[in-house]
């Protein structure tokens, strides 16, 4: 007997965790990071051949909206999508803009090449200081952008003002050339301040001077488009670790006895985990131990890590040895 399977389609039973590719215990930071990565990949402008692109992108926006909000996430975890009490409040374009800026959705191609004739407002560059801990683990920085936005206002204004030469005839064969300011008429514009929250990602392994642009979040231009807001990463010096590429260097001081006899210790890493060091040989001052995989994540591939290089300093006793100690050292001299 043929079994017939009938599949029902439940429109409101989306698995938001699956859509974002995160575990059910994911932190808000994990969720933001997942959204940002997928939003670039799934944007419909980038997937013009995929008929489902709009839906996938909409699903992504809905997933982020719910899981990034503590209340909504609780409701969703308990009752599923159908159990969500309110409808969607944020449009997906608002969510997208808070991570990338006010795009006119221009992908694939330098913004400047779009139309050289449209004047652009100034760019804003903000130096964003980040700690080595943030470079190791990643983070998101929330900023509130308050900016003037050009809005239409009643009436007209003068625009495209330029100098033109005018020729006037003073008499037969006599002409005068004068310079005059000539303007066009344009719709009137006023500037109104608006505010939005932006999410800047500090990606793991990010390097000094790297920039994160937010399109259109710069200064407005009355006759054109707004400029961009760019966050320029500045990695702060760390008191214990020195960065060289993806490797981390640190110094540890051991006692003279430890240098001769060996030791075991734990070094606390940038995210709090402990690195175990065991040494059972003599350690000379300046000796180094390489711990592969304990460096910084590589920016292009977070799964690759640099090394942690520990250089040992030996602490010699500060005061002179007394006779009893000298005696003890004498006995040890048979090394």
């Amino acid at each position: 007997m043929l079994s017939q399977f009938v599949i029902f389609f439940y429109p409101f039973r989306r698995d938001f965790y699956k859509i974002l590719g995160v575990s059910r215990s994911a932190s808000v930071k994990d969720i933001k990071k997942a959204y940002r990565k997928l939003a670039l990949q799934l944007h419909p402008d980038r997937n013009q051949d995929d008929p489902n692109a709009q839906d996938k992108f909409a699903d992504l926006g809905a997933a982020y909206e719910v899981l990034s909000d503590e209340e909504k996430r609780k409701q969703y975890d308990a009752y599923g999508e159908e159990g969500l009490k309110e409808g969607h409040h944020s449009s997906h374009s608002d969510i997208f803009s808070s991570f990338f800026g006010d795009f006119g959705f221009m992908f694939g191609g330098n913004r400047q090449q779009q139309d050289r004739n449209i004047p652009r407002g100034n760019d804003i560059i903000l130096d964003l200081e980040v700690t080595l801990e943030e470079v190791y683990s990643g983070n998101f920085v929330e900023v509130v952008r308050n900016k003037p936005v050009a809005k239409e206002a009643p009436g007209k204004r003068k625009c495209n003002c330029r100098q033109e030469m005018r020729t006037t005839q003073l008499g037969p064969g006599r002409f005068q050339m004068t310079q005059e300011v000539v303007c066009d008429e344009c719709p009137n514009i006023k500037l109104v301040n608006e505010e939005r929250t932006l999410e800047v990602e500090i990606e793991q392994g990010v390097r000094d001077e790297m920039e994160y642009p937010f399109i259109g979040e710069g200064e407005p231009h009355i006759d054109g488009e707004p400029g961009d807001l760019r966050f320029r990463i500045k990695v702060l010096k760390h008191p214990l670790f020195e960065r060289r590429g993806d490797d981390l260097y640190t110094n540890v001081t051991i006692t003279l006895v430890e240098a001769l006899v060996g030791f075991e210790m734990y070094i606390t890493h940038l995210d709090g985990h402990k690195v175990h060091i065991v040494r059972d040989k003599i350690t000379k001052p300046g000796a180094r131990i390489w711990k592969k995989g304990e460096g910084l994540p590589n920016f292009d591939n977070n799964n690759i890590r640099g090394s942690l290089i520990i250089t040992f300093d030996v602490d010699f006793p500060k005061e002179q040895l007394d006779d009893q100690q000298k005696d003890g050292m004498d006995k040890a001299r048979s090394l």
């Binding site: 930071k29 407002g121 964003l128 983070n139 929330e142 003037p148 505010e195 995210d271």
Partner: protein, 200 residues
């Protein structure tokens, strides 16, 4: 497109924090603190600082930082009485004042000084406000640490080539001419520490 994600305004987001980029409006004269690559023709001959009418000039952005050699942690609200520096975004010079006369009113000249954000001890100002922290809605005063003058504008205007721009100077007494308010800007919110990775 007006407002973004509608989050309840949490108390910290109303504060001015370290590392933020802001425009400062003089509340009495309605102009914004501004600088540009134009030097004073008198006094110290350093880069001039003025007040401008326009609200959309990127040359009016200043970054708020701590004193030299002091960490002012990103996103932490600035306390009333705290010492800060204002670094001009476009030129990397710091808001600065010293014992030179201002060109129009004979008060104390205020200039933009230094390179790449590093100048000297005369770059430091204390934020004077009445509460505990500098709130975005507050009108505050900036008192110079080295010479005790207040950052002020009294309305004198320059001619060519910076026609209409107002003179910014230091005045010894606090009055209605030395109130400033943050306007447009990029206000950095406090961050959570990166989470620990338990699985490592």
């Amino acid at each position: 497109m007006s407002f973004g994600i509608n989050k309840g305004r949490d108390p910290d987001s109303g504060y001015v924090t370290c590392g933020s980029l802001v425009k400062l409006l003089n509340t009495r004269h309605n102009v914004r603190l501004h600088s540009h690559d134009v030097k004073y023709g008198s006094g110290s001959g350093q880069q001039s600082v003025t007040g401008v009418d326009s609200a959309d000039d990127a040359n009016s952005y200043w970054r708020i930082r701590g004193k030299p050699n002091e960490t002012c942690q990103r996103g932490v609200p600035i306390k009333c009485g705290q010492a800060v520096r204002f670094t001009h975004m476009k030129t990397g010079r710091n808001l600065h004042t010293h014992h030179f006369s201002s060109p129009l009113s004979n008060n104390q000249e205020v200039s933009a000084f230094g390179e790449n954000g590093e100048g000297d001890d005369l770059d430091v100002w204390t934020v004077q406000c009445s509460g505990t922290y500098w709130e975005r809605d507050d009108a505050v005063r900036f008192k110079h640490l080295g010479t005790s003058v207040f950052l002020s504008i009294t309305g004198e205007q320059y001619g060519h080539p910076i026609r209409g721009q107002r003179e910014v100077h230091g005045m010894p007494s606090p009055n209605q001419h030395n109130y400033w308010k943050v306007m447009e800007g990029v206000f950095i919110q406090p961050s959570n520490e990166p989470l620990h990775h338990d699985e490592l």
